[in-house]
Amino acid sequence: MITVEHVNKVYPTRSGDRLVLDDISFTLARGEKLGILGRNGAGKSTLIRLVSGAERPTSGTVTQEMSVSWPLAFGGAFQGTLTGLDNVRFISRIYRQDYKRNIDFVADFTELGIYLREPVRSYSQGMRARLAFAISMIIEFDCYLIDEITAVGDARFHERCEAELFQKRNDRAMLIISHDVNYVRQHCQRFAVINDGKLIFYEDFDQAYYAHAQNMNLHN
């Protein structure tokens, strides 16, 4: 179970403090899949970073009673100057994993071949996404935080992500944010929309989608 209670997040900007998340509370139980819709800059990624524990809320608390992944994004959580293999080693060391076994899995999943020995900054976006996803699958978590991980990459990659995440790990909890509303509809049971710093839950996908579409139009 993850419990988020009265979380506020304020970012200082040149034009004064900006309240990005305003008194957000919710829970996520084991195995539950929650999808969050929202415009660009609405605070979706901020919320996911707060839930992961990588960043701290300005006020309020986040309690994790199960193991939670880092935010799985298509570009993030590794270093461009290191090679793909070095990144696998680094993550394996942090999470105390056997990196030899992990390297086999990553090599197999990413099909990057010799490029695994090249710096990540030389990779294309699609290659980076493959590596990021494979590295994320090395470590087993009770809850996965998914931030647009399949926004790039080809059909084959999407198919393999689907198998790893939603077939092999279907019993895990997930918090999914995406611009792809169909992706959210297919994979989640609970839906919420984030707008003006508020997180509002809806009974079903259609209502959430309607609210989300309205938010988009209002500001057009």
Partner: protein, 265 residues
């Protein structure tokens, strides 16, 4: 209750140890790469620095106000400078390139600093030891009179450098001006740091004031260990300990503030 608290502490220490180790390996790779002599640069570079300065001072017969051989004087002095000066230089601006790694909640700002400090102090220490052994071997230098006192002085300098580095590293994350100011300050502090003079050679009136500069006490201690009775050293160890303690507390407080405020990228 107590034993469970102890367990939590133990587990946290294990995680932190693992993270620092991983960061250390990563740091070595990103900084030195796998080309030519790779991570040997860690101590070859300070060795070149120290050797260069030693040669320069020998050739110009630098005035240092004591009867000590110039090689011994330069080695102890310049190695000390590298120790306390390189740590802050490496910690200022250390957070930014590592922001992407802070997506992993166990990787914290403090770990990034500690990894860099270990590497930097390690490099300076290896350089000092290897050069000492080499100079002793070729007969330019007498072996130190009391190795433990040398180590004590060296550790004090390392403590001072490390706490200063963490403080400036944390402050520098918020205020760009820290990075701009550090270079001139470090440059000006060099002649004041005791590397290029013995306190005993200063006028008596200046001696009591120069000991307020923390590094001077450490360098004097190193030289006492190295030269024993041949030199007359002045230092105030309790003052330096108190200074480092206060600096460390301040540094840790600022690191805590920073780690609350950063946004991983």
């Amino acid at each position: 209750m107590e034993s469970s608290q102890f367990n939590v502490l133990f587990r946290s220490a294990a995680i932190q140890g693992r993270v620092i180790q991983a960061l250390l390996m990563r740091e070595i790779l990103t900084r030195f790469g796998r080309h030519n002599i790779g991570f040997l640069w860690l101590f070859v570079e300070p060795m070149l620095f120290t050797t260069g300065v030693t040669i320069l001072w020998t050739v110009t017969k630098a005035v240092h106000g004591s009867t000590l051989p110039i090689v011994a004087f330069a080695l102890t002095g310049y190695s000390s400078v590298l120790l306390w000066r390189n740590m802050p230089s490496r910690c200022i601006g250390a957070v930014e390139p590592n922001l992407s790694l802070m997506y992993h909640r166990n990787v914290r700002v403090l770990d990034v600093f500690l990894a860099r400090l270990l590497l930097e102090a390690g490099g300076a220490t290896i350089s000092f030891v290897v050069l000492s052994l080499f100079y002793i071997y070729i007969g330019w230098l007498e072996p130190p009179v009391d190795v433990l006192t040398v180590a004590k002085g060296w550790l004090m300098l390392a403590w001072f450098g490390a706490s200063l580095a963490m403080l400036l590293g944390a402050l520098g994350e918020k205020h760009e001006v820290i990075e701009r100011l550090w270079h001139p300050v470090a440059y000006i502090a060099f002649p004041l740091s005791g590397a290029a003079f013995m306190v005993d050679s200063l006028p008596a009136a200046a001696q009591q004031y120069i000991l307020y500069v923390p590094m001077v006490n450490g360098v004097e201690l190193v030289r006492e260990g190295y030269f024993g009775d041949k030199v007359h050293v002045h230092y105030d160890l309790p003052y330096m300990v108190a200074f480092c303690m206060a600096l460390s507390l301040l540094a840790l407080a600022q690191v805590t503030v920073i780690s609350r405020e950063i946004t991983p990228e």
